[in-house]
């Protein structure tokens, strides 16, 4: 049934339908509404999960790690500094191969302190062994949590999933959302049965010291499993489409007018909605432009991206994060897609925009398409204010 919901509410409703046994989280803007709603549902008796209150994100992540290790479905959510505070536990959850789903309400990183949206937080944890899916709108934010559990708990995968939704833009944005019925969710997502769990009657140890004889194989296995995730995502997407009627194609990328395009922007997350608007506008004027939206950032779908961009002559990569002192993360990865390839774009320019919540407007996107010409641009900051760079401290 279609409902008019805030993004956070939609996510909370979906998590309720997934029936996690344990939820633990610490509030942080802009994630707070999600866990507030869930805490309310538990308090009202609508949801029979245990909601464990903790004193920090480090503890919240540790609680869901421990709970998941006992074989129960778990959920947590965080953002920005909270995600970084979870950092070591985040790596542990993947290392111990515990399936769980976490929402990352994407927000900028201090300093300067800033509560608004960019994607620096989750991007900085890209090497943690988590599957990362980036949502464009509220409907996707909700649906991806369902898909996340299904992929995470697959017996051949057993890896945690981070659903990245842009802070405020999606967490606080109110949109029309098609909410599934419990029976549909139960069909798509059967009850979780752990492959291994902490159980006093059958003791075992997880996350034990692995000396140089063992460590590398444990890490290699995660890396190899990501290749299986690339194969699984399209299949799960098909199952999802059969039950819920929404088709996310291969769930790796979305191609929007790329087939005959001469200029394509590559981006992730909610900004893609804005880009589609500009693509429509320019297409109406006969310009051959398009958008390639990366949905699965980890695993990174190299082959799929190559197929989508090999015949495009000019590609612009739009990052909402930076790797200070190097190419922005998405830019460096998209460029690496074409190393040693015969077919490749003539121009690959990279742009950074929207850091710390600076609005990426229709005009910002038009500017990117304008600047995407014969001259290759590297790390061009859009909407930068040069007057603020004149400060001197001598």
């Amino acid at each position: 049934m279609k409902e008019f919901l805030e993004g956070s509410r939609a996510v909370a409703e979906i998590i309720k339908l997934c029936k996690p046994g344990v939820i633990s989280a610490y509030p942080i803007t802009p994630q707070t509404h999600i866990v507030e709603e869930l805490a309310q549902m538990v308090a009202n008796g609508e949801l029979s999960s245990q909601f464990i209150n903790v004193e920090s994100e480090h503890s919240a992540a540790s609680v869901v790690l421990g709970a998941s290790a006992t074989g129960v479905r778990t959920f947590t959510a965080t953002s920005s500094q909270g995600l970084f505070y979870m950092g070591e536990v985040i790596f542990n959850i993947a290392g111990v191969r515990l399936p769980l789903v976490m929402t990352c309400a994407n927000r900028a990183i201090s300093a300067p302190i800033n509560i608004w949206n960019d994607q620096q937080d989750s991007i900085s944890l890209r090497d943690a062994g988590w599957i990362q899916l980036y949502a464009e709108n509220v409907q996707e934010s909700a649906d991806f949590h369902l898909i996340g559990y299904r992929v995470s708990e697959d017996k051949s995968i057993m890896l945690p999933v981070m659903i990245c939704m842009d802070g405020f833009i999606l967490t606080h944005g109110i949109e029309s959302v098609d909410m599934p019925k419990q029976a549909q969710v139960d069909k798509f997502l059967p009850a979780y049965k752990a492959l291994y769990k902490l159980d006093p009657s059958e003791p075992l140890t997880m996350g034990i010291l692995a000396d140089p004889d063992y460590y590398m194989e444990a890490r290699y296995a995660i890396h190899a499993t990501f290749k299986d995730v690339l194969e699984l995502l399209p299949k799960v997407s098909q199952e999802f489409s059969d039950i819920f009627g929404r088709d996310y194609k291969d769930l790796l990328v979305e191609e929007y007018f790329t087939k005959d395009a001469e200029k394509v922007i590559v981006a992730m997350g909610s900004v893609c909605g804005t880009i589609k608007e500009v693509v429509d506008e320019l297409r109406a004027k006969g310009k051959k432009v398009g958008l390639l939206r990366i949905i699965s950032y980890r695993p990174f779908p190299y082959a799929r991206i190559y197929e989508a961009l090999k015949n495009v002559s000019k590609v612009a990569i739009l990052d909402k994060s930076v790797s200070l002192g190097a190419y922005a993360p998405l830019a460096s990865e998209i460029k690496s897609v074409f190393s040693n390839k015969k077919k490749l774009p003539k121009v690959i320019s990279s742009f950074v925009a929207g850091l710390g919540g600076r609005d990426i407007t229709l005009e910002s996107i038009r500017e990117i398409f304008r600047k995407l010409n014969a001259k290759e641009l590297v790390q061009e900051f859009i909407d930068l204010k040069p007057e603020l760079l004149k400060e001197q401290y001598e």
């Binding site: 140890t205 063992y214 296995a221």
Partner: protein
């Protein structure tokens, strides 16, 4: 794909770490032993076996040759002796 991930109890018994030993190993003389069990209690590897007088020995599959048993023995009935050969050092033949 899964690598080494889960460990069942007593798995460490399969890891024969006696080869880490360098230079010396304890020799149980089994002459003046009073079965006080001080050596057994002090052993950091918990690899000393025995109950009766003059019947204690160490499992060279795990012994690191630290020498604590020889120091603690009130009857000086344990001696630290040179490893005789590489094969002997591993001590896993028997």
């Amino acid at each position: 794909m899964f690598g080494p991930l889960i460990v069942k109890p007593e798995k460490s018994k399969g890891d024969k770490t006696g080869s880490w030993r360098i230079k010396v190993r304890p020799k149980y003389l089994q002459k003046n032993c009073i079965a006080c069990k001080m050596c057994l209690l002090v052993c950091p590897e918990n690899c000393i076996i025995g109950k009766e007088k003059n019947a204690f020995s160490t499992d060279y599959n795990f012994c690191k040759g630290c020498g604590l048993c020889a120091v603690v023995c009130p009857k000086a009935d344990i001696e630290m002796v040179e490893e005789e050969s590489l094969e002997d050092k591993k001590g896993m033949a028997k």
